[in-house]
């Protein structure tokens, strides 16, 4: 989208939904407006790829009137990344993107899993805000809503603090009490830290559950894609998640996996029912090519 005043105020209105992302983006837009007022700016929304989700996947089971009134539904995020890696995985494997079912796991400090069918996102783990779904570096991911209201009452805190609690004090850092960085978690585990080990187990278990559920949503998948900081580099996480999916024919080449970091690689064994690939994400490329298209008025 070409950025104008209307787009800026739209992004402003959405600050509540993405408190970690929208304010710095706006600051960037404003800085460029001030420094290079003549240069057109383009916003590529991370939710765009998920607009193809069917209604039964994006709706929440809350009063329909609230969907109409506030647009409360699941939007999903990391769309730019899921779009890039799903397409790139097909190119890399020589598959037809329009006839392939993929599960893409963008896992890093923030994380989401996406079910892609024939080039279209049909479900994803993030929802109305980027907090739903996987356990993340500082975000809780899925949590019983009862916990939210209970905590607000017990800790006597309002909406701003409860949002900070679930967005910034939770996830891996909240459980481990050490860090949101998986490298530091690994180090702490090697030193025998139990909470760090628990955080990692929870983190991986949640990824497994989402891949499993999207396997059902897609009625089986052809490819599982790992991307993002953890997906591209944490060989242990990839191995444990894939091994735990062995019941459905997922077979990973452990030796190759252990030596593969940050590069495109096919990790599944030839007899695996599902192909496993690592595709380093390139959101910048997607954004640049989208920008070019928009500027050229296509």
């Amino acid at each position: 989208m070409l950025i104008d005043e209307e787009v800026i105020s739209m992004i402003e209105e959405c600050i509540d939904m993405a408190p970690l992302h929208n304010p710095p983006n706006l600051a960037g837009i404003r800085a460029i407006n001030e420094l290079l007022p003549e240069v057109p700016q383009v916003a590529v929304f991370d939710t765009a790829f998920h607009q193809t989700m069917p209604d039964f996947a994006y709706m929440y089971a809350i009063p329909y009137s609230l969907y109409k009134k506030y647009g409360i539904r699941r939007y999903g995020f990391h769309g730019t990344s899921h779009r890039y890696v799903s397409k790139r995985a097909c190119d890399f494997l020589g598959l037809d993107y329009s006839k392939t079912k993929l599960i893409t796991a963008h896992i890093g400090n923030g994380g989401s899993v996406c079910a892609v069918e024939n080039g279209k996102s049909v479900d994803t783990s993030m929802g109305f805000t980027p907090i739903e779904g996987l356990m993340m570096g500082t975000r809780s991911g899925d949590v019983d809503l009862g916990v939210v209201t209970y905590l607000m009452e017990k800790e006597m805190i309002g909406s701003a603090a409860i949002s900070t609690l679930f967005n910034k004090h939770s996830g891996v850092i909240g459980v481990s009490g050490i860090s949101s960085d998986m490298r530091e978690i690994d180090k702490a585990i090697s030193e025998g830290n139990e909470r760090a080990a628990l955080a990692l187990k929870m983190y991986e278990y949640r990824i497994k559950k989402y891949i499993g559920s999207y396997m059902a949503a897609l009625n089986g998948a052809d490819v599982i894609v790992f991307t993002g900081g953890v997906g591209e580099n944490q060989t242990g996480t990839r191995q444990r998640v894939c091994e735990s999916l062995a019941f459905m024919g997922v077979k990973i080449d452990n030796e190759l996996n252990a030596s593969s970091r940050g590069k495109e690689v096919l990790l599944s064994l030839p007899n695996s029912a599902v192909k496993i690939v690592v595709i380093p994400t390139d959101e910048e490329f997607m954004i640049a090519s989208d920008t070019l298209e928009i500027i050229n008025g296509k």
């Binding site: 001030e34 420094l35 900070t164 609690l165």
Partner: protein
């Protein structure tokens, strides 16, 4: 082959020296006591650079610890992370030299109340205004955190009186995000509009108030407190029960007595006397209960005793 184009980035103003400064990128606070530290912390949390003035190193250090305490409280209540605390603290700089306000486009005077008599000297505050005028640019706004003193009087000896304005932060109720913005007789529209923008920049609501003693908040609160003291004196209900009716029944965040203890009884008495001097109405005479506490130096949270008793953390001891 594609030709590589290398352009110096400085010409786009990205170097620090030539960068266009946005409004309120740096503000000043004179006096970093209870109220000043609330203002400094609130602005720094919104990414604004803050310079605060305290007369000596030890008072600067006290102010830093006061600010840190506020941020720690936010962390304790899940409203902030350690990283955000560090970032906020890095935006705040203490000084004992007015020259360091040079370059600020907005300075708020918030010198403390005297511990003994609850007064904020008008002469001293006029002096602050004059010192600020000597170091600030002509367009910079000078504000005072006022409640009963009129800003026109504080600005009376300045060359550019149009840039002076009053603000009233309600620092006694935690997270009360509203400011009363007080126009003096000579305050320009430009100054008023800019201060409204400042309120928005720090995510505060605001109400314009005509210059008057007690504004809305202080005048209404003190009358309520005086009446509550009357109810207490007549033996109609206890301190706790009167506060309970206001909190549970009317949805107030904290009762009148608790608020008075937080403000400081010495200030409350002084503010009431100011209102009585200004309006001459008997309803503003401090209630006998207040005077009794004042004379006993039971100033509230600050002395651990007021309408309630308090522990070191300021929690009510039952």
């Amino acid at each position: 082959m594609t030709e590589e184009i290398i352009e110096a980035i400085e010409r786009y103003g990205l170097s620090k020296r030539s960068r266009n400064r946005t409004l309120f990128s740096r503000i000043g606070v004179v006096g970093c006591g209870k109220e000043g530290s609330v203002i400094a912390t609130t602005a720094a949390l919104k990414g604004i650079e803050v310079v605060f003035f305290e007369p000596c190193e030890s008072s600067i250090n006290n102010a830093y610890s006061r600010i840190e305490e506020k941020l720690d409280k936010k962390i304790e209540h899940w409203g902030l992370t350690q990283n955000e605390k560090r970032a906020t603290l890095s935006k705040i700089q203490g000084t004992s030299d007015y020259q360091n306000f040079a370059g600020c486009d907005f300075v708020i005077e918030a010198i403390r109340y005297d511990n003994k008599n609850g007064e904020r000297s008008v002469d001293q505050r006029k002096e602050v205004f004059k010192k600020l005028e000597s170091v600030l640019s002509d367009k910079a706004i000078i504000a005072s955190n006022v409640s009963t003193v009129v800003v026109t009087e504080l600005a009376s000896e300045l060359e550019h009186q149009e840039r002076c304005i009053g603000l009233h932060f309600m620092s006694n109720t935690p997270d009360s995000n509203i400011i009363e913005i007080v126009r003096g007789l000579n305050t320009s529209d430009y100054t008023f509009d800019k201060v409204c923008q400042f309120a928005k920049a720090i995510s505060h609501d605001f109400v314009p108030v005509m210059e008057s003693s007690g504004l809305i908040s202080v005048r209404l609160f003190l009358i309520q407190l005086n009446e509550a003291c009357g109810i207490l004196l007549e033996g109609i209900a206890s301190v706790e029960d009167i506060d309970k009716v206001m909190t549970v029944g009317f949805g107030h965040r904290q009762g009148v007595f608790r608020t008075a203890d937080q403000m400081g009884i010495e200030k409350v008495v002084k503010l009431l006397e100011n209102l009585y001097d200004e309006y001459g109405n008997i309803k503003y005479k401090p209630a006998p209960v207040l005077l009794r506490l004042f004379r006993a130096r039971h100033f509230g949270v600050s002395t651990s005793k007021g309408f309630y008793s308090y522990d070191e953390q300021g929690n009510i001891v039952k």
